[in-house]
Symmetry: C2
Subunit: 459 residues, 2 copies
């Protein structure tokens, strides 16, 4: 097989003055009378290779006609670049066309808007920006797996189709094999005839199931797709996205925050180390100062502060709020922004009012708050959320009753508290939020290969 550009750039010295075969695509093409220059990429790394060929090649005339976007095989010698001695280029022995590219190829060597590129999402990884974005997506995913696997966490595949609707985290997509036309003509719905014999949906979170794994393996994490049928058309909402949900037994809220902080720093550092070209590109063309932002995060110590204290700071601030901060209530985007600027770094806001948080969170002795935490990061807002889980069977039942939840359908979840339950905690991180933070790309549609949003389900 052909050599990947990635290997050539990684082991430049080894390949220098050697003849190699490479296969990839023409990104740009300049021709002169005696020479031609192909801007060549095989997609395996951010950098392109300059392929130089001259009119001594028997098919010189044919090569000059090769169009942008075409797939080619090139044989040639790796030589020091004439322009930049640190770099390499190729002096070409042969160029063979593998696949032609029609004239209407949408990805031409010019600036395309991100909106336009969304329309041709299947071609956008052939641009520098999206080549970088989706490589960072891949590398960051691996960093997350490495972090948890190296520390003995068991990777848990949460079920995607679920008959439970208990987390209350959002609206759900229904999953069915019932014939809707038949329902219309018969005038009734019979769930006993549905595939699972009952109403089923796509999961909004694997957390409750992950807790069953934590109480068996001590440490577990999910990394998989989740779904919300929210009808929101914002830059940060997609209806199908990937989540990481670690869950740890014998772990309280403080230790939970330690893990959140440690994991985030690990992943950011991993991407900085593995993708220097991509990060440099984002820093230059997407978000000025991105690299400094990431380095600063790695070196900062995250502040830990109670929700109540945050409200006090916000109230005392000399700011005219659009949403006045209030004890016992949620905080708005403008508050998140203020508080990370106030502390000039990432902030864990903990011990939230019970009434605005989920039923499974550990109730604090004050009777008003729960041991929940959100991580607020400068320039990104909320990046993760976690909590200690309520381990008292009685308190959990009481809370579910207050919220008029059907505890019978969650008997297994409740039983975890009867069968060797213990202090345990976990958190969730939306993978795309992390990617927006890592790349500086602002719209979630630009960090998911084929995003699903209201009225949009192409590919």
């Amino acid at each position: 097989m052909s050599i990947d550009l990635r290997d050539i750039f990684k082991n430049k010295d080894e390949y220098l003055n050697k003849e190699v075969t490479i296969q990839g695509w023409i990104r740009n093409h300049r021709k002169q009378k005696e020479f031609g220059f192909i801007d060549f990429s095989d997609g395996t790394c951010f950098k392109h290779l300059q392929v130089v060929y001259d009119n001594k090649l028997s098919n010189f005339a044919d090569i000059t006609k090769l169009r942008i976007g075409s797939a080619i095989t090139v044989i040639g010698k790796i030589t020091p670049s004439l322009k930049n001695s640190d770099d390499v280029e190729m002096q070409t022995t042969s160029v063979t066309l593998e696949g032609d590219c029609d004239e209407d190829f949408p990805i031409q060597p010019k600036r395309h808007t991100r909106e336009f590129l969304r329309e041709v999402a299947y071609l956008r990884p052939r641009t520098n920006l999206f080549n970088a974005v989706f490589r960072v997506r891949s590398v960051a995913a691996h960093a997350i797996h490495e972090y948890f696997q190296d520390r003995g966490y068991v990777y848990f595949h949460a079920p995607l189709i679920t008959a439970s609707d208990c987390e209350g985290a959002g609206e759900m997509f229904q999953v069915t094999t019932l014939d809707l036309d038949k329902i219309a003509s018969l005038g009734k719905v019979d769930y006993s005839k549905d595939f699972f014999g009952k109403h089923a949906s796509l999961t909004v979170s694997g957390q409750l199931e992950a807790e069953t794994w934590a109480l068996s393996y001590k440490k577990t994490y999910t990394f998989g797709p989740t779904f919300r049928a929210e009808n929101s058309n914002t830059k940060t909402h997609a209806n199908e996205f990937w989540m990481i949900e670690p869950e740890i037994a014998f772990c309280d809220l403080e230790e939970d925050m330690n893990i959140m902080e440690d994991m985030l720093k690990y992943v950011v550092k991993y991407v900085l180390d593995a993708c220097p070209d991509e990060i440099a590109f984002f820093d230059s063309f997407v978000e000025k100062g991105l690299k400094d932002k990431l380095v600063k995060l790695i070196n900062s110590e995250f502040v830990r502060i109670d929700h109540e204290e945050v409200i006090r700071i916000l109230k005392e601030a000399d700011v005219k709020w659009e949403f006045p901060p209030e004890y016992g209530e949620d905080i708005a985007k403008e508050h998140e922004k203020y508080i990370t600027e106030y502390f000039n770094g990432p902030v864990f806001i903990k011990n939230w009012p019970k009434d605005i948080k989920a039923f499974y969170m550990k109730q604090n002795p004050d009777g008003k708050t729960v041991a929940a935490v959100d991580l607020e990061v400068p320039g990104a807002g909320e990046l993760m959320g976690g909590s200690q889980r309520e381990e008292s069977y009685d308190k959990l039942i009481k809370r579910m009753d207050e919220l008029k939840m059907d505890s019978a359908s969650l008997d297994w979840y409740l039983n975890l508290r009867r069968y060797g339950g213990c202090v345990h905690s976990g958190f969730g991180m939306g993978f795309e939020r992390l990617l927006i933070y890592l790349t500086g790309v602002e719209n979630i549609r630009d960090v998911i290969p084929y995003p699903r949003t209201p009225n949009n389900c192409d590919y």
Copy 2:
């Protein structure tokens, strides 16, 4: 935090004669007048630790009453085991109850049937068998990521909700936010009001989308859930399962087979190295000879043979077939078994009859076969399937027309052939098939944490 048993067993010498704190669960408990013995597991490794305590502890009487399944914190010194000098145990300073376990705890230290354990799926990883199975699931998943990431493949998250129904790989689950009761009362279905403005389903494969990534990144792979709404209640069918689908540009069928073989050997070796206790347990209690089977696979060279030749061998065999083998037709389980026994090892069967394979497979010059391959493995049958993909736009259109497929909805897929298309190939591996092979556990319901099968959607 407490130390994981995994770390103690891994670094026995370092911990010997040191005092440590461990947290986990009581798997068994024997008491004598002066001593007690707790079979302790924290789930972080297959092995348990024997926790020995004596009546010098002030709460000796209380400790003896601790029930199986309870969560405890133990402080004590790691000492050489009295029974087995290679092993360690703990001489205990203190035992604290973290979470009691009710008397009706279903996982008692006795043999439970797998059918029974499926009924309490949320507790089964607390048994030795399932602790091992789902750790191997986690380790094998990581092995797959490492294999591809180390070789520069870009991990691709295929969309799960899809409006295309073109792969024809099986029946699909519908995804909707339409109100079925309302459909029944109104007597009509209006897909323009559905969430995506059209009919949507859960994907049966990410391959077609992965090809778009291969033609941008050269090498890509998916690893995610896929769904089939097949109403089959067999040991090998689940309706939600995980698939790995690599896709490689500038790669023909021979190279595709090289990668399939290399990847499988890598993953099997990785699991053998990382999970020796688990594999030894499966070998003793689940499938005699499992370890030899796996070692043999790593050391074998996979046979490569045409489908036509396989039929010839089957026809010439002195066997009374339930399904007589026929040229141009698919082969049955009994044939798969025979052929792997015939060659005494894994067999790639290639160049299959066109009419029984998918539209996207590369048409061979003979006009009758396609460049497809199935890997048959002794004791497992078909473990992977792949093909070179048809790179000719015209041939692809013609084949879709023959099969009465709607090519308009796959315009993007076809366009890949117009915009720098090239020889490319890929394959798919059902993750659960691999796990059945690795563990010897026969039923797919026992290698998926919470399996979805017809009329079964618990948790």
